[in-house]
Symmetry: C2
DNA sequence: TCAATTGTTCGATAATATTAGAACTATCAA
DNA sequence: TTGATAGTTCTAATATTATCGAACAATTGA
């Protein structure tokens, strides 16, 4: 099984995190994750090709913002809450609180209820 | 006298602010400003050409992070604290608190030569 | 085994960012 | 007026990023 690289907590740098969060699509993804918890990549309804989404998820992962867990054919993404909060206390909360700017990339509203709640 | 453009508070966007803060040099400048208050551009001891410094200050200004006031031949720079705190509560404090990463670009007429002992 | 699902990686392109040096503007002081 | 100071703007080179489509790999289900 493929192994994904995640930076160690101490190797997470503020500049990289801020950069990762500075893209509206990535900010939207984080916003969705904060509201809904762990999600597979295909949960995000982003207006970009899947290869582009893959790139954005990787950017977030390599910056240390998210953790990606592979299960079957799906890649489940979560925010590295504890690491973020330890390394940069208050940062994620401030960003998420301010991210009303962020577009809503939650699961497609046109699709029937997926029973999640 | 030249008029510098500053975005109105409501036109300051989270993505742009995060992007502006994601550069180590700009982060260092903000860190110095937070510690020392208003400073002219030539106060910052950054390892780049003055045209490059000018570019970074402009990036911060256009993102809405700093205010630049012209007096004589000098351009005095301050953090737009109130606007940042109103628009994105807690963000700047979190970034500054986490910015021990940031290089120290304070004026150093006779700085300690680091590592020489 | 075959096909569908999920996502990555590669190749290419267009846009944007960083950087420096040179020329320039504006102010100030002698 | 002359020279020094402070910083901008222009031009150009280099590097990085975002984006897409096509090809690919791994897993799952029929």
């Amino acid at each position: 099984m493929k192994i994904l690289h995640h930076p160690h907590r101490d190797d997470i740098h503020l500049s990289s995190v801020l950069y990762a969060l500075s893209d509206p699509i990535r900010l939207g993804i984080i916003s969705v994750l904060a509201q809904t918890g762990e999600q597979p990549c295909n949960y995000f309804c982003v207006p970009v090709a899947k290869s582009t989404l893959s790139h954005h998820i990787r950017t977030l992962r390599e910056a240390g913002v998210v953790f990606v867990r592979i299960q079957g054919t799906q890649h489940f993404v979560t925010i590295r809450r504890a690491d973020m909060d330890t390394r940069f206390p208050g940062l994620l909360d401030a960003v998420l609180g301010a991210a009303s700017d962020a577009a809503d990339f939650s699961a497609d509203p046109s699709s029937p209820s997926d029973g999640v709640t």
